[in-house]
């Protein structure tokens, strides 16, 4: 036989479920449904259930959003296949070689020397400018990046 206190605790648990999930026990978590589903008809929680049912009915009467007919097309149009990085690099190289081809050997040698001078002056300074450092996280695993995108923006209430 269930002790009086246990019984009160069980009814209190049913009230908590009615408060949070409403009067339709199909919406309750499976464990709560299994444990307290039958108690939902107990007269001790009758008022709570009536309230919960009424709020469910009100929520069901709220305006139902209708997806605009062209939204899916617009979203699909926003899809861009990822660019092929190696392809971009090779394309860049071929463009660069096209530019350099007409130059005489002396000019090429001068450009190379200029490159060494620039490297010597700025050598060792490998710090990324701040606007690029923000992308350093891309080195991390993919899901971490996605989680960062989702962000934790909830306010403490």
């Amino acid at each position: 036989m269930m002790k009086q206190q246990d019984y009160k605790d069980e009814l209190a648990a049913v009230r908590r479920c009615l408060d949070a999930y409403g009067g339709d026990i199909a919406r309750w978590p499976a464990s709560a449904r299994e444990r307290w589903g039958e108690l939902v008809r107990h007269e001790g929680v009758g008022d709570d259930r009536a309230d919960a049912d009424a709020i469910d009915a009100l929520l069901s009467a709220a305006t139902a959003p209708q997806t605009p007919h062209d939204l899916k097309n617009r979203i699909e149009a926003g899809y861009r296949p990822p660019s092929d990085k190696s392809g971009d690099f090779l394309t860049g190289l071929s463009v660069l070689s096209g530019w350099l081809k007409p130059l005489p050997a002396g000019a090429l040698a001068s450009l190379t020397a200029l490159g060494f001078v620039v490297a010597a002056v700025t050598g060792g300074d490998t710090t990324l400018p701040p606007e690029y450092e923000a992308f350093a996280y891309l080195e991390e695993s993919g899901f971490a990046v996605l989680d960062d995108e989702a962000g934790a923006l909830w306010d403490a209430e």
Binding site: A61, P65, P68, L138
Partner: protein, 197 residues
């Protein structure tokens, strides 16, 4: 046919490799749900459309880096959408909530009932809009999107207990705000029952 049953995670991987067909299936599967949750949060069609589009843009941007570790894809997508909405609400970008389009009311004997239904719907929409953002989010996910408490809690990055508290507080706030409509509803239910006897 086989593609329709393909998991979201596999589709994201394919979309990340440039498969437009996989992206198309993801759009077909998730747009309605994402738009619905954005609309319920922002209460404005243009703002909800923008938020839904932004959600998918972030998906396309990250699809090639997708690694199916931990959370389900759908949980992540909803979390992105929800955070975009909250960000908009926080920045005050939300446009004025839309006035519901005037509903056609017949001039028949049930005209009063129809007017009552229109007024009730408006009152409910306003009460939902007046809820604190997190309470509205919890009710949107659990009641309207019919998500499990565990998945909704993951999306909102709170514990299940905290989610239940948000739900209960939200529903109580709705009940208090809608008390006149609430009583009316009960009255109508009683009348109907009486009529049936």
């Amino acid at each position: 046919m086989a593609r329709e049953r393909e998991s979201d995670e596999a589709l994201v991987a394919r979309a990340g490799r440039g498969d437009r067909g996989a992206a198309s299936i993801l759009v077909e599967r998730h747009t309605d749900k994402i738009y619905a949750v954005c609309f319920r949060m922002l209460r404005s069609k243009p703002a909800a459309e923008d938020a839904a589009q932004e959600t998918f843009l972030r998906l396309w941007k990250n699809a090639s880096k997708w690694r199916p570790q931990g959370a389900k894809f759908q949980t992540w997508l909803y979390r992105v959408a929800m955070n975009i909405c909250l960000d908009q609400l926080r920045k005050g970008k939300r446009e004025a909530p839309e006035e519901a389009a005037p509903e056609q009311v017949d001039n028949g004997p049930r005209q009063d009932d129809q007017l009552l239904a229109v007024e009730r719907r408006r009152a409910i929409d306003e009460a939902l809009e007046a809820l604190p953002d997190r309470q509205r989010a919890a009710i949107s996910l659990c009641h309207f999107q019919e998500m499990s408490n565990i998945e909704a809690a993951k999306i909102m990055e709170v514990s299940v207990d905290a989610l239940e508290s948000l739900l209960a507080r939200g529903r109580r706030a709705l009940r208090d705000r809608l008390a006149p409509v609430h009583e009316n509803l009960r009255g109508r239910m009683s009348d109907d029952e009486t009529a049936g006897l």
